[in-house]
Assembly symmetry: D2
Homo-oligomer: 247 residues x 4
């Protein structure tokens, strides 16, 4: 049985990619494409089971209220969710028996990297993160790399690991990277690259590397489709794709 | 409270490394070193809590019977366990309330690579394994790489994934690697290298790489110590270090 | 002083990228865009110094004859050059004091990989090539990887190196890759990847890796611009961008 | 015809490895092992063609004076050569028609990495260096990485390349690495690793990576043997193994 999908923000660059992704999937049926001038009523008429929302912070709450109170599950990549907004979305979902997935990152490989890094962290003496991005990026390190390092640091702390070994006494400024809760993070900016993250763990005589490469901006599509396929079985509000991965 | 440890096969190359590793650990106390001409009674006199056995298939069963029936937990890297032997060991353990860990591979990074590969497999269209070893190795691919590929294939099968995409119509013999249950496995033999395994997963616009490097033959020590520290809380017989990693 | 550039095949996908690349370069001036229905006379009127030809085998010879006999240097990515064709092009160039660069591969990183591989080959016991491509590729290994392996084999042969060490006695079919003149070549096919080549050399206690990644189809542009800027100083016919790299 | 080799500092850890390396080579004959209490006259009696010196700064000059004035070529890994010392060595060599190679680094893969990095630098918009070492190392970045970055910077300068693109406006301290003449250098310290250097170049749609891994401390042996085999044909004093690589 196919899932009937509506796409909100369907004319946007990301929305168009979602439309293409849904259309290409055998088990999904694209039943509505909504953009700025369209009415949400279309979703009801088309009997949408699930909507995907890549719109803007100023319209997303209206979209979610409408859908969640009309029996339609929501998969959301729009940004700008404050704790207050999340509480409101959860209330809509639970009081209507509808489900909602809100995720800051739909790239499955990036989400898995972060999860595996958290799981591996307590077994190794050393851990560092190296991220690589195109040179037009404004922040260094990337938010994902900082988040990964924080997850590693928390796992090390929970396991009562001591500080990492580092005998450096003579260093050029910046050589040892940024210190994120005790985990060194290095940011490379390189023409030609897109978005890449490498987490390195070391123990006696061995290393473990978990590396994620995003080659183009369509890398979020498989994660969105995973969300669409599984939102029906995750009650209420879920924040973060990792909770859909079963690991 | 420190754990009292006895080492069996203490004069062997591996045993010596275990002795050094136990000695260097603050929370472990080396209380006995047993080799060919020593009596196992020494373990009782020394009040060993746990023994580590890296001996040979023809003495290991006697060692385990003695220890498990005298209240001593066992961590075992010796090879040659048939199903019959495992059943026997389990009987000794359960009837004496003692515990035993038998593991073919104590390199934590290798065990994690295999576990993460199994967890990630169902989220990706493509998966291949490339392993790298010194040129004196007799088998290709390595047993670990074959085992990893089998785990990936089983996870893909359980998730009802179709065959991997591969449009190759014109290939030199061997170019696409060995086919292990549908997963291509490539073996590189290279002077200077030790033992390295890379698992590559691909999906739309992204890849995930899990890589393990063993730089020297001491890489099993952290896994043995992990076994020693945790064997007391894993009742009966456990086969495989992965069951001690909590993932 | 800027170089005046004409682009032939300007409406094609590659031609459009060349037009964009020339336009973006401060030291180059785009003076003509020629496609199927345009006359080559436009190049003379526009006083083109250099043309770039990404057309088809059935028109390229007419294009080159016209340009080389009218004082215009040529940078050519079109395929299908037989030895006879090359002899003809060389005759046009030398008798008119014009220059022509014909290259099968304009990706500088790929050309450098091949050159460095040839230079390094004689210093190492072991050498293997692993290439990675999207799964729609028809041939395995890639032509570039085969060419790289042949270059390594020739360099090893010239240095009288013995066969590579490899103790493998028990192998799954295909595990050790394709044998290209004694150099193992492994081909990975992976959704999400584009085109990547890794050359690995090993010697006592050390390895050297030369790796090239192409992330999108525009990776040939810097090489074309390099050709345009330097064709004026390389007399007659040159086949292969490597001769322009001064290494 | 075999080359007769004497080893100075033969009892030292490095010297012992050189002895083993010379002994294992078919085309070399070990004719003398000299250490603290031995007389250099032994080298004459044994008709040594070439000596290898891994001793200390306070005896190396006496060793070289003796050998170079007695017709014996020298391959030297001992440190501490000031400009004055080099001038003196050169004088001994040229006035006696003997040859001397002094090299700070005999790991061929490291020397090639540096040479290839210099050659590639002018073809790319971006270049960064990431080095990885065991956590007992005192300096960061490594001397080799700094030297590599300086070579890249000099090549970019000679080619009149502009500064690398980098839009970073918001960075954690240290995230973008150490700045060595405009080339970012990142230093990772990791239990389990030995000594590894990766040079990354980027241009439109592509990257080139040159990576060197040293897995153990014997990685200098092939370079020493290369020196021994070729010192006879490089007149006078040569500083740096790169001059023996013919690239």
């Amino acid at each position: 049985m196919t899932i009937k999908v509506g796409v909100l923000g369907a004319q946007g660059r990301v929305g168009q990619a979602v439309v293409a992704g849904v259309t290409a999937a055998d088990d999904l049926e694209l039943v509505a494409q909504i953009d700025r001038d369209d009415t949400l009523q279309t979703l009801i008429d088309a009997q949408a089971d699930v909507i995907v929302d890549f719109t803007t912070p100023n319209v997303v709450m209206d979209n979610l209220e409408f859908c969640l109170t009309h029996g339609i599950h929501c998969v959301v990549g729009t940004t700008g969710f404050t704790p207050e907004r999340l509480t409101q979305v959860e209330a809509w979902a639970t009081s209507n028996n509808t489900n909602c997935l809100i995720a800051p990152n739909f790239a499955i490989s990036a989400v898995l990297t972060m999860q595996f890094a958290k799981q591996a962290a307590r077994f190794f003496d050393s851990a560092e993160v190296v991220e690589y991005h195109h040179p037009n990026k404004l922040d260094a390190p990337s938010g994902t790399a900082i988040h990964t390092a924080e997850g590693i640091a928390a796992a090390r702390h929970a396991a009562h690991l001591p500080a990492m070994p580092d005998a450096t006494t003579q260093a050029l400024d910046g050589a040892r990277g940024a210190n994120v809760d005790g985990v060194p993070v290095h940011a490379v900016r390189m023409t030609g690259m897109v978005a890449h993250e490498e987490v390195i763990f070391g123990s006696q005589g061995q290393t473990l590397i978990i590396r994620q490469d995003s080659y183009d901006r369509m890398s979020f599509i498989p994660g969105v489709l995973l969300g669409v396929r599984n939102v029906g079985t995750h009650p209420g509000l879920t924040v973060g794709l990792e909770h859909y991965l079963g690991i």
